[in-house]
Symmetry: C2
Subunit: 115 residues, 2 copies
């Protein structure tokens, strides 16, 4: 019944693939460190929603949370761990495989042409 | 605080993006119609788990469920709707944008080289 190769969707990890968490990890991969407030605003989230997803990622050891101060204001900094960077790289490989497969079917009709 | 362009993760729709459902939609986009059992086996799911995700997709009118018989055996067929095909195309565009952004950072280190 199954094909020889496992379907690329099986290579996706929910911890990383989930929409908001993928956004968080993508943003963190582009910077050394990122403020909680910046992340929240860039992704259009509430504090509670962002906190919930950060907890999942922290428990999976994909990111590191540092609390400190700027002047008297408490600031939370977030940073990808090495494990987080690797997890994101695996997700990227799985997404590329999926995109390739989808593009083969929906090829000429995508909104963004491959360059 | 926010950048000029909305983050590509914001363009992802959870109904379509969720790991299992993205697998279901990808497989359906490759065939005219697909049997429940084939889908279940290709994605390594239980009947209950597949049913749960099919219900979400059916409620969003992204796929059509047809029940019938082959000989005396009841068979369930699944098929993408036009809306489903469009939703998948939007997801593909969003994923391509995300992959492009991730590749710009993690460029030389991806497992699957771009050809």
């Amino acid at each position: 019944m199954t094909t020889e190769e496992p379907h690329p969707a099986l290579a996706l990890d929910d911890t990383v693939h989930q929409r908001v968490r993928l956004g968080i990890l993508t943003i963190l991969s582009e910077t050394q460190e990122c403020r909680f407030a910046t992340l929240r605003d860039e992704l259009g989230l509430t504090d509670g929603n962002l906190n919930r997803h950060l907890r999942v990622l922290e428990e999976a050891q994909l990111l590191q949370v540092t609390k400190g101060y700027e002047g008297r204001r408490p600031v939370t900094w977030l940073k990808l761990t090495r494990r987080g960077r690797e997890a994101l790289r695996r997700e990227l490989a799985a997404l590329e495989e999926l995109v390739r497969r989808l593009r083969a079917v929906n090829g000429g009709e995508t909104v963004t042409p491959a360059t």
